[in-house]
């Protein structure tokens, strides 16, 4: 069957999950028409970027069973690659391509070096070393202001075809202007779909099976004859590439990049949370998790606002529920999710209960 080939034989295997994914796809396709306004479009674009980012992290965490804290570093490299190239070389397609290509090259090299240094020894060093490298990189990006714009970041222009001033038609279709911004949205959607399906192909390939074998029992996988370091390093390089491309998408959509938008540790935490909630070891979890999380994020802050106002007579309680402290509640949610819900939403929907990933 065609669909089976497109999804690399990894079907959702659950009526509810299929419905959810289909609804998500339809919603993303129709957002410009269904919900007018810039805000909805921005949320939808962020969902797409995060689907790619989280799915690429799942390749590492869920499929290979290694924890990296440098994932936002690659995300940032992609975003900065485009931002710097377009600032320096002007808004041309060449700049866009050059920025993406050099960002991909840099991510590949960095992932290779980190992987060879840390995965050679013990997989757990990887988590610590990536944390160290990522924090150094974050400081570098905010201090090297001639290149990166420092804390302020970079605002840049894209080729005219992708900007709102470019009109394809003078008349609006069902109330939507056919401009470059709309084109940009659909390009983003197409690239997201392509990247997601490619990742699906990767994890369901023989290579992906080896990764899962390593996750389940590294000793046995090595005994069968698969070199652990090689597979783990290639997995981290691939995941770095996809994270980098997610960064490119983010920068293209926002036409801005700064340390807080792509490099901050909060994003790393969000990615971790989404992978755990969605379900480790299934890419559909990334899609479902990213959508639910990003919707809940704005919702949670509104809810906290209400709670904080209701509790304003007790200062400490009000401080606990202040919208600025939303990370506290997310952290709590995260810990509870790891305890009681380790297999994530997708395995629940699939009804298989305890999935693998008990590393």
């Amino acid at each position: 069957m065609k669909l089976q080939r497109v999804l690399s034989n990894d079907l959702p295997r659950s009526r509810w999950l299929s419905a959810l994914l289909l609804a998500l796809l339809l919603a993303l396709l129709l957002t410009p028409w269904l919900i007018p306004g810039v805000r909805a479009l921005n949320v939808a674009a962020k969902v797409m970027v995060f689907v790619v980012l989280v799915a690429s992290f799942d390749l590492l965490l869920g499929y290979t069973g290694i924890v990296s804290f440098a994932h936002t570093m690659f995300f940032g490299i992609g975003a900065y690659g485009v931002a710097i190239a377009c600032t320096r070389l002007g808004p041309t397609w060449l700049a866009l391509g050059l920025g993406t290509a050099s960002a991909l090259l840099l991510s590949l090299l960095l992932a290779l070096v980190i992987g060879l240094f840390s995965l050679r020894v013990r997989a757990i060093f990887f988590a610590m070393i990536t944390l160290a490298v990522a924090s150094a990189f974050q400081t570098l990006a905010s201090q090297w202001s001639e290149l990166t714009g420092g804390e302020d970041g970079l605002n840049f222009k894209l080729p005219d075809l992708l900007s709102a001033s470019h009109r394809f038609s003078e008349t609006a279709w069902w109330g939507v202007q056919l401009d470059g911004r709309l084109l940009c949205y659909y390009v983003l959607l197409a690239v997201t779909l392509l990247l997601f399906l490619t990742l699906l192909r990767v994890v369901n390939s023989p290579f992906g099976r080896v990764l899962q074998a390593i996750r389940e029992n590294e000793f046995r996988a090595e005994a069968i004859g698969y070199p652990l370091v090689l597979y783990r390093t290639v997995s981290s390089m691939l995941s770095a590439w996809f994270a980098c491309l997610a960064g490119v998408l983010l920068a293209v959509w926002l036409r801005y990049n700064g340390p807080d938008t792509s490099l901050s540790f909060d994003i790393m935490v969000e990615v971790l949370l989404i992978v755990v909630i969605g379900g480790m070891g299934t890419l559909y979890g990334a899609a479902v998790g990213a959508t639910l999380y990003l919707m809940a994020q704005s919702y949670l802050q509104d809810l906290l606002q209400l709670a904080s106002q209701a509790l304003s007579s007790w200062p400490l309680a009000a401080a606990l529920f202040s919208p600025d402290r939303w990370l506290l509640w997310l952290g709590l949610l995260f810990v509870l999710a790891v305890y009681f819900f380790p297999s994530g939403i997708v395995s629940r929907l699939r009804g298989s209960g305890g999935g693998g990933s008990g590393v």
Binding site: V67, A127, L131, A136, T139, V269, V338
Partner: protein, 327 residues
Amino acid sequence: MKPLGIDWKPLALVPALALLALPLVGSASSWITLTAAGLAMGMIVFIIASGLTLVFGLMDVLHFGHGVFIALGAYVAISVLGVFPSWTASPSIAANLLAVLPALLAAMAVAGVLGLAFERFIIRPVYGQHLKQILITMGGAIIGEELIKVIWGAQQVALSLPEGLRGAVLLGDAAIQKYRLLAVAVGLLVFGLLTWLLARTKLGLLIRAGVQDREMVEALGYRVQRVFVGVFVLGSALAGLGGVMWGLHQQNLVPQMGAQVNVLIFIVIIIGGLGSTGGALIGALLVGLVANYTGFLWPKAALFSNIALMMAVLLWRPQGVYPVANR
């Protein structure tokens, strides 16, 4: 003479590095100042790292929430120091120490008690599951940091040194800040006590044996997990102590300080070898010295100097300078 069985090569690294930096720095007086600063920073980092390396080594627990106890200790100290305004403002060092001592003790006590709770509620349910440990301790660290923001506020707070500990001692041309001498003294005291505990007591014997081969010690009938709870509490208390020292060293506090220091601590532990306190000391001194020398010689590279140092050590000894843990 009987060979002592000590591996001297890593020990020689610290003086070798210091001597190597001498011609690069140029003037002897700035070299002395930098070296003293590096040693002091290294000692503070060692205080924090010593407990964590045992936690890693003994139970194979990947604890990413250590930073919270650092920040917690520092914030408790700021509250305690606020109780003795006259003693901290007095120029007499004795009065200053009288104010700092309760702050240190309170920080250790609070961090220790919370460490007990952290171990019970966050770590115990996930023994033996590395992935979950990393995730859940990370979650615990986020919660802790946010709670600190709730209690003490999210903005930066100044933590000034007591009056008598400010300023420097002159050694020829070289100026050595008084506080750095205190930091080295406290660090040496902690190292001495830890060495005594590990080398001369039954408990220390169990800890060292447990780090080397936990299953064997358990097979002999000891409950390593109980020992581990003690080690975890001790490690958290030391992190609290180190946090106060670090806060006084930086002279300001932000709730994120724990996460910042955590990065340094991981580098130190990787350099030293998981589970080795001696290795942690050497790693911490190396990190402190390298940070200060490169900060002086080539400030732009200071960010990456520690990572470069770690990579160099790993090329030489992939398990850290003193590999202990038998895993």
